[in-house]
Symmetry: C2
Subunit: 377 residues, 2 copies
């Protein structure tokens, strides 16, 4: 009846009465549920590591259809299930729903079990850019994106990052005398020629991890002063392990009083007729004030209007100023950009934090001259 | 051939050569692609609002299969498509892939077009809790979760928040003399009895928005001092519109030097033999130092080991101290909790920020006595 080679089910492996994947799988397979001693031990240990006793209700998570194999879950209590093909034609895999549990289990337990035709392989390579819009990236890639090409070249846009995906699918021996890896590398070379200097990394690299690497390599240190992003830039930076090597911390100066009191933005900027909190002057004062107090070599500041309220005709929602102050020996310099971002509060805040990282990156590679997506010049 | 009443396709509506949903839909429908003048105008305006000119490549986004209706996209350039049932039996909807564009379009354009049997309706109600694990919530709900019950009661866990979902599916006239709304309300009453005081809100409410509401109602103000979360708590708070009413800002004290310099944590805490940065003493000094400098009524601090490095046998990865300092008139008080969180760096940071909000919430409702999920007592 089933025509698929592989059936993946996610979710429904929790301990509560509405978690029915185990029961449904057993029923569909015509097998009884049996308790797996190893799985039970693992679940008990998972609670013990958090100094808790396993509630009785979680015992159900150690059940598996007879003939199924338990897939260990190092990130939660719900083990996965693998049912090798039997009377049914296909592999069946049941994975927990939460992404942070599901993804590692997929990598560790499912990928090695995939039965691919040995002669047909897929190779992908992700090349991440920041600063250009998706249309601009596509214009530069031009004929590389033709659908008849091998390897295929595609683009995806997520927030301000445009990723170029190179994908080879074909014989394991390659084509035209080149191996798959050689074909992908040759295409990557062409992509790089067209998109440098906007490329910040490949694969798992994020804009934050790329910037931290540059700072580390140049023995520089960073602080942040955030208004409309309210900590989001700091959160993106500290999401990366070992951020503490180069990141000292910063200030969330959400109110004008905090801008004045914590980092010394002059009070007259906020008085009637002054430029206000969302201005070039305020952004620069925030970055310089932060640099001064943190004692780092670099400081980024962000001030803007994330909405939905607070916009005006001269400063509509999405208006953001980002400044970068840097110290080289005795000299302190600063750069500042005005940006106009689309979308809702969440988007404007994410674009702001990512664009601050992109601005710092351009400075660290000596390309302060390049405009950034969303910039108003 | 198709047995579905509705086909929803997401993604592939971008401007580049690998965005093929429009072409594929036209081909499947046997219709030519035509340019929609209204859609073209909207796309041009979307760029104009960001002070950019529409790149030529984006013109393709104004194409639609003949007979299809354009669905406007207020959050991006890609309009959606709606194809009413014709020779094919089902409604076809094409939506853009990015969630922030897709979700509002689904709400505004797809939901009103759903053709449901008039006599069969679904009513759902989400009730969010913080502080209990999913197993503990399920134990309290007990027989309410039986699968034969109407309305159904289920639970989902996302990070530290456990949501109880009440779902009525049945005749629009209700059952046993009660309307669907009455049945849902009666079940909600039972759920509330069993889960109060852990319930912080319903529907779209988040832990951050609930805490901001409590602060606003009690005319209190908040500052934060973050170490291992690096700004994530501030980011969660400022994600909520009008956070500025009650949130003044704070400090990202990632390095020990920042803890000492910016908010006056005593240097001796960090010296050899001292309790160190991840300790009750440091968490309390951070919260009190922040309260003092911010001049707010409340201050939350977080210090912990998010990993993957930095753990020790006495302070394993996942060890987090959270403190809350509060001012009532002349009196300053502080509470502090030790937590042990599971999972990777991302999880530990998210759990930490959410648990800080949950701790503040318990204090604001006068239930400081209740333990929190992950707490070590």
């Amino acid at each position: 009846m089933l025509e698929a080679d592989l059936l993946i089910i996610t979710g429904g492996l929790g301990p509560t009465a509405d978690d029915l994947t185990r029961q449904a799988a057993a029923e569909a397979l015509g097998q009884p549920l049996v308790e797996d001693a190893g799985a039970l031990r693992q679940i008990e240990q998972s609670f013990a590591s958090r100094t808790r006793r396993m509630p009785a209700i979680n015992r159900v998570q150690a059940l598996r259809p007879q003939g199924a194999v338990i897939l260990p879950n190092p990130h939660g209590t719900a083990p996965g299930l693998y049912v090798p093909p039997g009377a049914h034609a296909c592999d069946i895999v049941c994975l927990p729903g939460p992404p942070r549990e599901m993804q590692p289990m997929f990598e560790a337990e499912v990928v090695p079990r995939l039965r691919c035709p040995l002669d047909h392989i897929v190779r992908t390579r992700l090349i991440h850019t920041h600063g250009l819009g998706e249309s601009a990236v596509a214009s530069r890639l031009n004929e590389l994106m033709e659908r008849s090409r091998t390897p295929l070249v595609g683009t995806t846009a997520s927030r301000t990052v445009v990723t170029c995906r190179i994908r080879y699918e074909g014989p394991a021996s390659g084509l035209h005398g080149s191996t798959p890896d050689e074909l992908v590398a040759a295409t990557e070379g062409e992509v790089r020629q067209r998109l440098e200097p906007y490329i910040f990394g490949t694969g798992q690299c994020t804009l934050a991890s790329a910037v931290l690497e540059l700072l580390r390599a140049q023995q520089r240190t960073l602080a942040v002063v955030e208004s409309c992003t309210g900590g989001l830039l700091g959160a993106m930076i500290t999401e990366i392990p070992r951020a503490s090597d180069v990141f000292s911390g910063g200030w969330i100066t959400y109110s004008n009083e905090a801008k004045r009191g914590h980092i010394g933005v002059p009070a007259e900027l906020f008085s009637t007729g002054g430029p206000g909190a969302v201005s070039e002057e305020c952004a620069v004062a925030m970055a310089r004030g932060g640099l001064d107090r943190a004692g780092t070599t670099d400081c980024l500041s962000i001030t803007g209007i994330a909405g939905p309220g607070g916009g005006a005709s001269s400063k509509p929602v999405g208006t953001v100023w980002i400044a970068h102050a840097s110290r080289n020996g005795e000299t302190v310099a600063s750069g500042v950009r005005r940006l106009q971002f689309p979308g809702d509060r969440t988007s404007i805040r994410e674009w702001s934090a990512l664009t601050a990282l992109g601005m710092l990156r351009l400075s660290l590679i000596g390309r302060d001259d390049l405009p950034l997506l969303g910039e108003v010049r």
